[in-house]
Symmetry: C2
Subunit: 229 residues, 2 copies
Amino acid sequence: MIRSPDNDKLKTIRKLAQKRWREKLGLFAAEGEDLVAAAAAAGWEPRFVLRAGEDVEPELLHAVSSLGSGSRVIGVYEQRWSSPGGTLSVWLRGVEDPGNVGTIIRSAHALADGPVVLGPGCADPYSPKAVRATMGSLFARPPARAGFDELVGTRVALDASASDRLGDLAPPLVLCLGAERHGLPDDLLQAAEATARIPLRADGPESLNVAMTAAIALYEAANRMAGHG
Amino acid sequence: MIRSPDNDKLKTIRKLAQKRWREKLGLFAAEGEDLVAAAAAAGWEPRFVLRAGEDVEPELLHAVSSLGSGSRVIGVYEQRWSSPGGTLSVWLRGVEDPGNVGTIIRSAHALADGPVVLGPGCADPYSPKAVRATMGSLFARPPARAGFDELVGTRVALDASASDRLGDLAPPLVLCLGAERHGLPDDLLQAAEATARIPLRADGPESLNVAMTAAIALYEAANRMAGHG
């Protein structure tokens, strides 16, 4: 039973709240029974798992929690990165909110066979908030990292300025989404094999949350590929 | 220029971080230039607006911010509640996360003509996090409050256990969504005029985030009602 805050495992968890340390160590922490169970279900061997009252005094575990919700269990794992691929996947650029990145990883796991591919300027998918938002999908479907030019297939730029909704396109499809406010830069819109928009009401907001756009586009693309379009 | 933290307007903003005070005063605070501009665009008269450096010393405004992002402007407004209605709307039950409630208000504003109707157990849509997540849609489309039995139209229970996807149904449609983990209670599933599910991959997670489910269902229903289904 760990009874000192100076314990090495507790120190490691504290460090993993910072991106700098996550990159240096190649590790990340997953907080909560559901996430640790999801890791086990996906066959991930933890570096270590600490359970309150079993391995560590509860208040010490609570003190290193990044989520402030009094986690009863925290597991530490090695980061894994997939390669881009699949018949349907998502590429993100400049999506800075870790909750959005995590939620999109969950949606892609539910609706697509390919990973979420992170381009420049995205939140770290292994940050505590992003990991939590994936609800465990991170373990089943680790994210990938790649530039726009490295993507293979029909790159569909989702953009409010596009003239048409998502049509029937030749797979593999990569749905490309930009930052909440600024969207994708013009050169990428030009270079993409196709553009598409989600039709919004004229009396509505200018845009949807990027995670909503991703979910709807994934749904529409998956439907069309399954012949329900 | 306000130079004292004991100023009455600053005290009011501090109180409005608490649901108890929001209910008692019937007010709420909106932080940030975009939200205050959205309120003005929708014709909402503020009780008052405080701008850092103009009306109040910046550090005093920062100290009453609920979002910790150093807001430069905070507006205080009277809460408004719509009545349920429209040809397409959303009813929520037990959606406790304010970010999800706010995001769904934004999605409904983009995709439907009716309000988001809050049933029992939902987060306060006038909490700082919810208001922020609406990105201003709260002002254009204030939420409603009603029980399931008060809803008029075809109540469609979105539930992972439903056998079919959303079909063509007679409007007005009310898309009904339950809490993230537990879904809608059985008696509501029985009482609803229809049930529907979002088809997910067999190798995917058991469910989507409730805000994603709402966005996809709104998109699908709006498409069908527009004849694109």
